[in-house]
């Protein structure tokens, strides 16, 4: 009896001390709930528009009422959606692969294998995070064209990879600074060279950081328009965002079909986002959160 009583008491006191803010009064809580519902409706508005609009034929859309699967059944004939999703997937995964491949060893070097000027070089790379693509759009475009890389995916992959690398270097360096030096030294004394240490110790330890970089870059690249628009010249290799944007800007495609395409484009990023939310938050606050 006494034991139960004390446990009850304890759980009670902990819930009091850990509760973020004193529980508001009943009426206040209902107002709060209502406000949050309103915000939720606003935030869900885009999804509502996409879904409802896509379930109308063009005529029904103009009329403002009705229901039809027409835009979905015609989707593939209007937008080469399969090809575009494939393009997005190829560009996305290849770019992320390069970003991790290049950023992880660099982060290891900048945190554990300091060399002359490494701090200065690190800061220069990190400051490249602040260079928007638009600022170098013209020169980059001409360079990539001169290298004859705009025909396939390679140009876009290189541009995405180099834009994502500064962040990835920053994130991996910060992450590895939290790993004790002795861990690498233990591997060296155990008989590893630096390549061995990288592959057999550093990479396995970095899995959470790899996940963070992958998730953030996936959403970034999947959702991007600019690079795909300029650096993939072949229209049959367009990523989905470019396909949608070009059709939208042309203002000739029926809106329900455009919305159906938008849903397809939004799905992968949403799935990744819902599945890996915590890595996203970690990456965003990297460097100021500890």
């Amino acid at each position: 009896m006494t034991k139960i009583a004390t446990t009850l008491e304890r759980s009670d006191s902990t819930s009091n001390s850990l509760g973020p803010v004193k529980k508001p009064k009943r009426v206040g809580r209902w107002i709060l709930f209502a406000v949050m519902m309103v915000v939720a409706v606003i935030m869900l508005y885009p999804f509502w528009v996409m879904i409802v609009t896509s379930l109308k034929s063009e005529a029904q859309f103009l009329a403002g009422s009705g229901f039809s699967w027409l835009s979905w059944s015609r989707l593939t004939s209007v937008i080469p959606i399969g090809q575009e999703v494939l393009s997005s997937t190829i560009v996305c995964s290849a770019s992320i692969f390069v970003i991790v491949l290049v950023g992880l060893p660099a982060g290891f070097a900048f945190s554990k294998l300091r060399f002359r000027m490494s701090t200065v070089i690190f800061l220069l790379i990190v400051s490249a995070m602040m260079v928007p693509l638009q600022a170098i759009l013209m020169t980059e475009f001409v360079n990539i064209t001169r290298l004859h890389l705009t025909g396939g995916y390679l140009g876009a992959i290189l541009v995405y990879a180099s834009l994502g690398t500064p962040f990835s270097v920053f994130l991996f360096t910060t992450y590895f600074r939290g790993v004790p030096d002795e861990l690498v030294e233990a591997g060296i004394v155990d008989g590893l060279g630096y390549f061995g240490a990288l592959w057999r110790l550093v990479v396995p330890i970095a899995v959470p950081a790899i996940a963070t970089v992958t998730v953030l870059q996936f959403i970034q690249i999947w959702d991007d328009l600019l690079v795909g628009l300029f650096f993939i010249q072949n229209t049959s290799q367009r990523p989905i965002t470019v396909g949608l944007a070009v059709l939208a800007a042309g203002r000739t495609t029926s809106i329900p079909e455009l919305m159906a395409g938008s849903i397809i484009s939004a799905l992968p990023a949403m799935v990744v986002y819902l599945g890996f939310q915590r890595y996203l938050v970690k990456g965003l606050t990297m460097g100021i959160d500890r």
């Binding site: 861990l183 004394v189 155990d190």
Partner: protein, 386 residues
């Protein structure tokens, strides 16, 4: 298995700090050598040079007769136990222990055999499939040890391996490590700042300070015959009493503390190079257990002291004494705030737990005449003839 030789090894870091200065030290095969000293004395740097984690600025370092100055860590065949254990977080206990063997291309069955042998020695057999984060501090320490012994290396290097454990576990592991080392008979260099670890574990102990080797001897020799004031003060708890004193020869050789004096047994004049006459004086050293209370009667060769503080440790009482001058008052000078300003002659004595001393008592004490130490007042070196 092999011996280890430091010959004039010096390490100068980029910012011109001489971390290790002209270190010469020989660790025999199978010997347990403890490097001890205050933080920043260069002991860890010496160990890291031995492991191949730091370059050697000058001098030569050899393992088993081979100069290893420029040999890669992996080719030195030494195993190291780190202060924070540095266990690989993504591997199980068994994988941690077998990793070095895996790198060297041992077969799976060989690795499993060696790991299970080592695990048995370390009482880790039940934990082989766990990951480090699921282990207690003591178990992690054992895994770190296991990682080293599985390799049967030329030498074990241990960098303060017990400093992250709580006091009780530390005592336990102290014995455990010493037992395993004796069992395997591998040359071991063990770095610590804890002089009790040094005394209890080492076959020999090397005391370092400011990058320089002060003395390397068996624990007992180190305790009985410290080569200088620093070693005398560093080894032993509480440390040796070091008192500034003047030598006086007018009534036979004696040491003068203010108005009181203690005769020096004649044997010391032959074993030590004591300065003659009224020289600059010496540092006189006496261990707390060699300060004996004289109950009554014979007052020859005793000093009158006053009890300033008293620390009861259970098995013994540490009594802080100050010498009393001719007027019968304490020579301890205290300023207005009660802080001690000058303490010309204070010392600590170890007394039995039942001795009913109280603060303020006057005690007559005698120094054990066989256990006098003399150090040069200027350099701090022992005046004992070698």
């Amino acid at each position: 298995m092999a011996d280890i030789t430091f010959e004039g090894v010096t390490k100068i870091f980029a910012d011109n700090i001489r971390a290790v200065d002209d270190l010469s030290l020989h660790v025999a095969d199978g010997e347990f050598m403890v490097l001890v000293g205050p933080s920043g004395c260069g002991k860890t740097t010496a160990l890291r040079m031995l492991a191949g984690l730091e370059d050697i600025t000058s001098g030569s370092l050899s393992i088993g007769g081979t100069v290893v100055n420029n040999v890669l860590p992996k080719d030195r065949d030494v195993a190291m136990v780190f202060q924070n254990y540095a266990l690989y977080p993504h591997m199980t206990v068994a994988q941690n222990m077998g990793f070095a063997l895996k790198i060297r291309g041992y077969s799976k069955s060989e690795i499993a055999k060696k790991v299970s042998e080592a695990a048995a020695i370390l009482h880790l057999s039940e934990y082989l499939e766990r990951r480090p984060r699921a282990l207690s501090g003591g178990q992690r320490q054992r895994v770190a040890m296991g990682r080293a012994i599985v390799r049967s290396p030329q030498a074990f290097l241990m960098d303060e391996p017990l400093s992250n454990l709580d006091a009780q576990l530390r005592v336990e592991m102290r014995l455990e490590i010493a037992r395993i080392q004796r069992l395997l008979g591998v040359a071991t260099v063990y770095v610590t700042h804890d002089q009790i670890e040094a005394m209890t574990m080492g076959d020999r102990v090397a005391v370092m300070r400011g990058g320089k080797l002060q003395q390397c001897d068996t624990p007992q020799d180190l305790y009985d015959h410290p080569h200088n004031e620093f070693v005398a003060g560093f080894m032993g708890s509480p440390p040796m009493n070091l008192l500034r004193a003047r030598l006086d020869a007018t009534n036979g050789p004696s040491i003068e503390f203010g108005t009181q004096r203690v005769a020096i047994p004649t044997s010391y004049s032959s074993s030590h190079t004591l300065p003659s006459g009224d020289g600059p004086g010496v540092i006189f050293g006496i261990r707390p257990e060699d300060v004996q209370v004289v109950e009554a009667g014979d007052h020859a060769g005793t000093l009158t002291t006053k009890v300033e503080r008293r620390e009861a440790l259970g098995a013994e009482i540490l009594v802080h004494l100050s010498l009393v001058n001719a007027a019968g008052t304490s020579t301890l000078v205290v300023d207005d705030d009660g802080a001690v300003v000058t303490r010309p002659t204070t010392m600590v004595a170890k007394m039995g737990p039942r001795s009913g001393v109280a603060v303020g008592d006057h005690l007559r004490v005698r120094f054990n005449p066989d256990r006098f130490h003399f150090f040069d007042a200027a350099g701090g070196d022992s005046l004992r003839k070698s």
